[in-house]
Amino acid sequence: MNIIVCIKQVVAGDQVKIDPLTHTLVRSAENSVINPFDLFALNMAGHLKKLYSSSITAVTMGPKISEEVLWEALAMGADRAILLSDPRFATSDTLATSYVLGMGIRKIGQFDLILCGMRTTDSDTAQVGPQLAEELDIPHVTNVEKLERKKNLFLVERLSDGYREILEVSAPALFTISPKAATRFPSLIEIQDAHARHSIESWGLEEIEADPTKVGRAGSHTWVEELIPITREKFCDFIQGDPKQQAKSLFSKLFEKNLLS
């Protein structure tokens, strides 16, 4: 089985800074990590590889420094790692991102399964998975917790509004993996082996035969017009009186604010 895992480099949770002029995230080698949601997809791929002899190809679109997340994938069991990188891909929105990923995957060739994270910790749209499936014209299911291969079908389980949905999906298909699925750390030996055995392939616009009008700003149908930081103000209100009075006044305060239904 050929598995493709899409992963993204994000700015570490506590280090998000926005460039005031371009409204984009300020990225550096030091503040960037693999999108934590993608670890669940990588781990699922590793799990499937053990069950059904498979090969895993990890793909990311991003600048040269995103290479680092591909090394994470290689340590977690990926057999091949591809960086889709070209200055013309910069400032792609989710649609343009999905198009680039789609063209990259077409060049990789035959596949049975594409796994994505549920969402990302920096842009957090949860759109790329479904959009990529549309781009490639294959079925998709989001928020998948369990995944099995059954001949030419995949049997998947997802949680939705208090129900467990069990779905059969024909291959090839794309799934975004739930953060409720398992994940793990790569061992030191796996990290060493990844670097000893593998290298990273880098493909630009020409290599994936992408249409330059469908990538980057030109190919983006949405853009960030303005970013307004939200400031949360906290007040502390001491409620006076004996416990009975305190309870009463707390109740009326909460009631006034419509916090009790």
């Binding site: 990590v33 290479e67 680092e68 090394w71 994470e72 340590a75 750390f185 790569p186 061992s187 030191l188 030996i189 990290i191 060493q192 670097h195």
Partner: protein, 383 residues
């Protein structure tokens, strides 16, 4: 000269940092208070190769370079110095001398279970009357057929309460300790082997530091590490490497103290301003940051020299001396920045302060490092 870490080294550091955050951050305070060895975490560290970081592949080790090794120790110690100590001692003064001086049979027998973390290692040199003066040991190993009969009273044994495989230093020649100084591999459970009381230490409390007593313990001669009389050389080689790990532990504690102080200084309001706006506090923070960075560079330099197979004694003693003093000083300044809260168990800075102090003592006190450094400096020729 290139000061940047390789992608691989950064990846190792990221993994260790993430692991420590996920598995140790929430329990570090509690295991310190309870003096509890966190087996549940140790069981997770084994499969990730934290117990065989530099051991040969053949025996299940990861063959990391020493810089990566230091980065791991720093990241673990930054969250929990007691576990940093467990891992540093196990890897550097047990697994390493066994890998270097052990026979093929010894390596095949002892290394795989140590490298996988299934068994924990300990290094037993110190005795009641032999601390800095290691040559004063009174433990004996008397030849009897194909065994030694070992009598030893070892104290302050890191990992002592949980160790399965121990390197014990004793003399095969009680009349001439120096000539007879030898290293023996001893397994817990051997008749006559006893774990003494756990030390009630000031810091690194989650590490079960204990005494180990051997009474007429029969140890097969096949467990002699190196040759008879090579024990002192083995101990010193182990400590030259071990000190780099302790230096890395100290850097981790210093970094933790700096992190906590930066956070607190921005939060604490006095005179209607965060105290971080006071120049006096800024100057402390600046000195703390500078010292920690200098300690880290000295430590990684010693690690680099080890990877290049250079002469290690001087550089590792310098790294350990400077990093240990830095950790103590920076943690003490951190307490100062926290004011009264720094003296309370409600904030982690008091734990860093207690944990930092011992880095100036074990694997050779500051004064012993100074002796080593001075000796190296004085024997150098003039340029």
């Amino acid at each position: 000269m290139d000061f940047t870490l390789s992608i691989q080294q950064k990846q190792v550091r990221r993994m260790a940092r993430q692991f420590a955050k996920t598995e140790l951050a929430d329990i570090a305070k509690e295991i310190d208070e309870e003096g509890r060895f966190p087996w549940e975490v140790v069981e997770k560290m084994g499969p990730l190769n934290f117990f065989g970081m530099q051991a040969p592949r053949k025996y299940g080790g990861a063959e990391l370079d020493t810089i990566s090794y230091c980065l791991v120790i720093e990241e673990i110690s930054r969250v929990c110095a007691a576990m940093g100590l467990t891992v540093a001692v196990h890897n550097s003064v047990v697994v390493y001398p066994l890998s270097r001086f052990g026979s093929d049979e010894q390596k095949a027998k002892f290394l795989p279970s140590l490298a996988s973390g299934e068994k924990i290692g300990a290094f037993c040199l110190t005795e009641p009357n032999a601390g800095s003066d290691a040559m004063a040991i009174e433990s004996t190993a008397i030849s009897e057929g194909d065994s030694y009969i070992v009598n030893a009273n070892k104290i302050f044994v890191t990992n002592g309460g949980v160790a399965d495989t121990l390197i014990i230093f004793a003399s095969v020649n009680p009349r001439d300790v120096k000539k007879g100084f030898s290293a023996l591999l001893v397994e817990r459970g051997t008749p006559g082997f006893e774990i003494g009381l756990l030390e009630n230490n000031c810091g690194v409390r989650a590490n079960p530091v204990s005494s180990i007593v051997l009474t007429d313990c029969r140890i097969p001669k096949t467990n002699l590490l190196g040759r008879e009389g090579e024990g002192f050389k083995i101990a010193m080689a182990a400590l030259d490497t071990g000190r780099i790990g302790i230096a890395a532990q100290a850097v981790g504690i210093g970094q933790a103290a700096l992190d906590a102080s930066l956070k607190y200084a921005k939060e604490r309001i006095q005179f209607r301003l965060p105290i971080a706006r006071q120049q006096a506090i800024q100057m402390m923070l600046a000195d703390m940051g500078t010292m920690v960075e200098a300690a880290r560079l000295l430590t990684l330099q010693a690690a680099h020299i080890r990877d290049q197979q250079g002469d290690l004694s001087g550089p590792s003693a310098m790294a350990k001396l400077f990093a240990a003093r830095t950790a103590s000083k920076v943690a003490s300044m951190g307490v100062q920045i926290h004011g009264g809260y720094g003296y309370s168990k409600d904030y982690p800075i008091e734990r860093y302060f207690r944990d930092a102090r011992v880095t100036e003592i074990y694997e050779g006190t500051n004064e012993i490092q100074q002796i080593v450094i001075a000796r190296e400096l004085l024997k150098r020729g003039e340029d």
